[in-house]
Symmetry: C2
Subunit: 201 residues, 2 copies
């Protein structure tokens, strides 16, 4: 009996997609906008892709929306091996973590047929480097979505991480301004109001 339709490339892609399912179990520090539970990295990636789809015209420079969306869909897959590191977490070893993530990228994208895996690995590396216009916009969205979650939940993770307004500007605001200035400017009044109220209490 022969199986003429069973193609090793299809099988490899289905194994990759089954492995990708594990991203749904990686929890982030940020909660949902209703505060009911912590967000996972898969639904976070969906949300960011929707940000790119709807906010593309607010990119600092013209972007290829489809590339930005592809980048955001895959940008967190390395967390299946490396876990999520909150942007405000202290004392992390950046170099060591970057190495773990690079190994994870090779393992996970390596599940795909060679050419496709290499293309997605390059797209992930472009996101990490954050120097192309597409990656700068993608990074801005990745940074701004948790700000909206925190604003929706009375400060969210900011109090626990003792984030100051100045730290938020350096760690988050600068990147959002670089890639999506209009979005940061739209949120600034609410951000300023929260930190002003927090300082008084």
């Amino acid at each position: 009996r022969t199986c003429p339709t069973l193609d090793p490339d299809t099988a490899a892609r289905l194994r990759f997609l089954a492995e990708a399912d594990r991203l749904k179990t990686v929890l982030r520090a940020t909660t949902l906008f209703d505060g009911s539970r912590r967000e996972n990295s898969a639904e976070h990636s969906w949300h960011l892709a929707l940000y790119a789809l709807t906010l593309a015209e607010h990119a600092a420079r013209p972007v290829d929306t489809a590339r930005v969306i592809a980048m955001l869909l895959i940008h967190d897959l390395v967390e299946i091996d490396a876990g999520d590191v909150p942007v405000h977490a202290a004392g992390r070893d950046h170099a060591a973590h970057a190495l773990i993530e690079a190994r994870a990228a090779h393992r996970i994208f390596g599940l795909l047929p060679a050419a496709q895996g290499a293309a997605l690995l390059a797209l992930w590396q472009e996101f990490e480097a954050a120097t192309s216009d597409d990656a700068i916009f993608a990074k801005a969205l990745d940074r701004v979505q948790p700000v909206m979650a925190n604003l929706a939940t009375g400060g969210g993770t900011w109090p626990a991480y003792r984030v100051t307004r100045a730290q938020l500007q350096t760690r988050v605001g600068a990147q959002v301004l670089r890639g999506a200035p209009a979005v940061w400017q739209a949120l600034e009044p609410a951000i300023d109001a929260w930190f002003a109220a927090s300082a008084q209490s």
Copy 2:
């Protein structure tokens, strides 16, 4: 004091994106591939977009991958108002549910600036109609992903819904074969094996 940068279109888009967050709380019948919990419709949508990104060359006819991905990112947003209806659930009133979903689409996409909301509403309607090549492929992916989850979890929802091999072919297989035949063919040996073992037990 003036606020020269506060743009009503940006504000509308941010309200839409905050509303979209609620899709993370809509639970589907299907579980994660590890069986640990039920899947929500936001992470499901992310997974499907990744299916489109990696399986595009297996589409029955040439597709615009970026359009398919956009379609899959938004296809379940109506569930924020209408909830998820499992494909194998019995006794549902299709016409009534379609009306609820259409109203939900108008409300949710109506949060966006008019032109953008109309474009996404049309894309959602195209997905629902399932007549364009892009929509046929998108529907095939939406149908096949839960099959993979069920296969990964010893049958998943099939026993509870008392699904037969023939019903799976009619409700699921036909749509997958129509949009992504190679993917169905790759899974058929495992599907046949599960139903054969299930019939013997």
